[in-house]
Symmetry: C2
Subunit: 326 residues, 2 copies
C-alpha cells in the first residue's frame, strides 16, 4: 500500500530540515510517494498567496503531511493547514535528552492541545474607534473529541490518567465547559484526571516538571505552555509535533525558520526527524518510529551535532549519522 | 496627613503574612490609619458573600489597600477588588534574591499587566447545548492608559524602553490593536519598544531572562508569564504586586493561601512585606520603600528564614529580623 506524503518545506531552515526528515523516511522499506508543495513567505512574495490552493488541497488529501516552517506568514500557513487535515489535537512531546543542555533535564511530558477553537476561532471585530473584540469559542464536541483522544493516548501507553490545564476560575463558562466535558469523557473511560490552573502550571512546571505526564489543554494554553516546556528542555530545536485529524495528519517541528542561520546547511534536523518518527507511528509503523527516535537519541548523546548543540556538524552530517544509527 | 490603609488579610496564610506587613509599616514614623475588613472563603461560608459590600467600599475609598490571599473564592474577591481601586495596571516585579535557590538566579524583570480587560471582561454566554463563547475585549483607551504608565515607569528608572508581549499573529484585531496603541504612545514619549510573541517569550525567558527588563502585556499573558517568571526565581513566596489605579491602589503578594501550612505561623512573610514596600513607594515614601526592600534582602541572604527557604524561623521571627534590619 502506497502512502502519499505531502512535503511542504516552507521557508528558511524548513528547506534544510524537511529534506533531512524525508531522507530518513526513505531509508525504510516502506512504499512512500512524496509530493512536494510550496508555502510561506517566498511563495507569497511570488504569487501573493502564502498558502497556494494546490498546497491546501494536497494536505487535505494526502495520507500525511511533513511541514517545515514558515516565516512572517506562519499563521497564514499553519492555521489553514491544520484545518486542511481537520486536526483536532496537536500532540507536543517535550523531553530533555541526555547530552543536551537543559534547564530541567528531568522534563518529559506531552501536551495534547485542542487545535481548532479557543481564541483561534478567527472571529474578531473592530466595533468602534476604541473597541475591538474577539469571540473565544469552546464547544462540548471539540472538547470531548480531544478528551477521547487523550483517554486512548494514556491507555495505549499504560498511563493512569492526565492533567487538565485551564483558566476556569476566570473563564468560567468557556473553560468551565472545557474542563467539565473533558472530565465527563475521562470518567466514562475510567481514566483519572486532575486539574491545574494554567498560571499555576507555569510556576509548577519550572519547580518540578516530573509532576506532569500528559497535559490536556485549550488551544492558546497549549501554545504557551508547550513553548515554556521547550525552554526547560533547552529550546525549540528538538521538539516535534503532530496535528492529528480523523483521516490524516500533519507533522512539524515546533521551531521556526531561524533566519539567522538559514541557507548555511547547519540547521539541527532533530525536530524534523522526530516529527517524521511521529508520522511513522501514525501510519502504524511503530517499530520504525521507535528506531528513528533511538537513532536521534544516540546521535544527540554521542554523534556529530550541529552548532546549536555545541557541535560543528552540518545538517547533512548529522542526518547521515542518524540514518547510519537506524 | 493621615493615610487610610484598608487591610484585608483574607484566608489561610493571608491571616499571617498581612499582619507581618502591617507591623513593618508601623515601624515607620508615618501617620497610617489601618482599617481591617473581611474577604474570602471564611466570610463567604458565614455570610454568603466572599467580598462583603463594606470591604469593597473600604477598598474603593481608602488611600491604599493591603490584601493577603483568598482560597477557592479568589477570583470573586480579587477581580472586584481590582475594580474597586479602578486598577488599570498590575505591576509584578520578578527577581531572584541572593541566598534563595532559583532556577535562573539572574532573573530580574517587571511585568506591567493590563488589569481590566482581555479575557477578564466577564462577558461569557452558553449559546447552545454545545457552544459557549467569551468576548475578549481590547480597547485603545485601556491599552494607552497602560502604555502611558509604562513610559513613565521606564523614564523614572532611567531605562530606555520596554518589551511588548502579545499574540497578534493570531489575535490580529484585538492584540494588534493593543500592540499598535502601545507603540503609538511609546513613540509619542520617545520610549523605545520591541515586541515578542507571548509563546516565544515563554521559551526565551527560560533560555535567558536577562534579555527582558520591563514587559508590557495583556491581562492573561501577564497572568501566565509572570507566574512563569515566579517559577524561575524559585516560586511565588517572594513575589509582591501592585494594582495601581488613578487615585488609589491595592498591594498583594502573588502567592495564594497555602492551605497545607496555614495556621502554623510558619508562612514566609517576604512577599507581603515587599508588597508593603511597593505601597510605601506608591504613597511617595521612596526612601522607606527602599529600606524595606534592603532589609528583606539582607534577611533572605543571612537572617532567620522560614521553612520554604530551608530555614526554621517562624513568620514572627523572620518579620522581627526584617524590622530589626530596617
Ligand atoms: C504560528 C502560530 C500561528 C502557531 C500557533 O500559535 O499555533 C505557532 O505558535 C505554533 O504553536 O505552532
Ligand atoms: C485568582 C485569579 C483570578 C488571579 C488572576 O487570574 O488574575 C490570580 O491568578 C492572579 O494572578 O492574581
Amino acid at each position: 500500500m502506497t502512502h502519499q506524503i505531502a512535503v511542504i518545506p516552507g521557508d528558511g531552515i524548513g528547506q534544510e530540515v524537511t529534506p533531512a526528515a524525508v531522507s530518513v523516511l526513505e531509508s525504510f522499506d516502506i512504499d512512500f510517494e512524496f509530493v512536494e508543495a510550496d508555502a510561506g513567505d517566498a511563495v507569497e512574495a511570488e504569487t501573493g498567496a502564502a498558502l497556494p490552493e494546490e498546497t491546501y488541497e494536497l494536505a487535505a488529501t494526502a495520507d500525511a503531511t511533513l511541514f517545515g516552517a514558515a516565516g512572517e506568514s506562519a499563521a497564514d500557513v499553519i492555521l489553514p493547514l491544520r484545518e486542511a487535515v481537520d486536526s483536532f489535537v496537536n500532540v507536543r512531546p517535550a523531553r530533555a535528552y541526555p547530552g543536551v543542555d537543559a534547564l530541567r533535564p528531568e522534563t518529559d511530558l506531552v501536551f495534547l492541545r485542542e487545535n481548532t477553537e479557543g481564541v483561534y476561532s478567527g472571529h474578531e471585530s473592530r466595533l468602534s474607534d476604541d473597541l475591538s473584540t474577539l469571540t473565544r469559542v469552546v464547544t462540548d464536541s471539540a472538547s470531548k473529541r480531544l478528551a477521547t483522544f487523550a483517554c486512548d493516548y494514556v491507555s495505549d501507553r499504560g498511563l493512569e490518567g492526565f492533567t487538565v490545564a485551564h483558566k476556569a476560575n476566570v473563564m468560567r463558562e468557556t473553560d468551565g465547559r472545557f474542563r467539565d466535558a473533558v472530565a465527563e469523557v475521562a470518567d466514562e473511560h475510567g481514566v483519572e484526571t486532575d486539574e491545574v490552573l494554567m498560571d499555576a502550571f507555569a510556576t509548577h512546571i519550572c519547580l518540578d516538571p516530573t509532576q506532569f505526564d500528559v497535559v490536556v489543554c485549550p488551544n492558546l494554553a497549549g501554545d504557551v505552555l508547550s513553548d515554556l516546556a521547550a525552554g526547560l528542555v533547552g529550546g525549540l530545536g528538538l521538539l516535534p509535533s503532530a496535528n492529528i485529524g480523523p483521516d490524516r495528519a500533519l507533522f512539524e517541528p515546533v521551531h521556526g525558520t531561524a533566519p539567522d542561520i538559514a541557507g548555511e546547511g547547519i540547521a539541527n534536523p532533530a525536530a524534523a526527524i522526530l516529527s517524521a518518527a511521529m508520522l511513522l507511528e501514525y501510519l502504524g509503523y511503530d517499530e520504525e518510529g521507535k528506531t528513528v527516535r533511538s537513532a536521534v537519541e544516540s546521535v544527540l548523546e554521542t554523534g556529530p551535532r550541529t552548532g546549536d548543540l555545541g557541535g560543528e556538524a552540518s545538517t547533512d552530517e548529522m542526518t547521515t549519522a542518524i540514518i547510519d544509527a537506524l
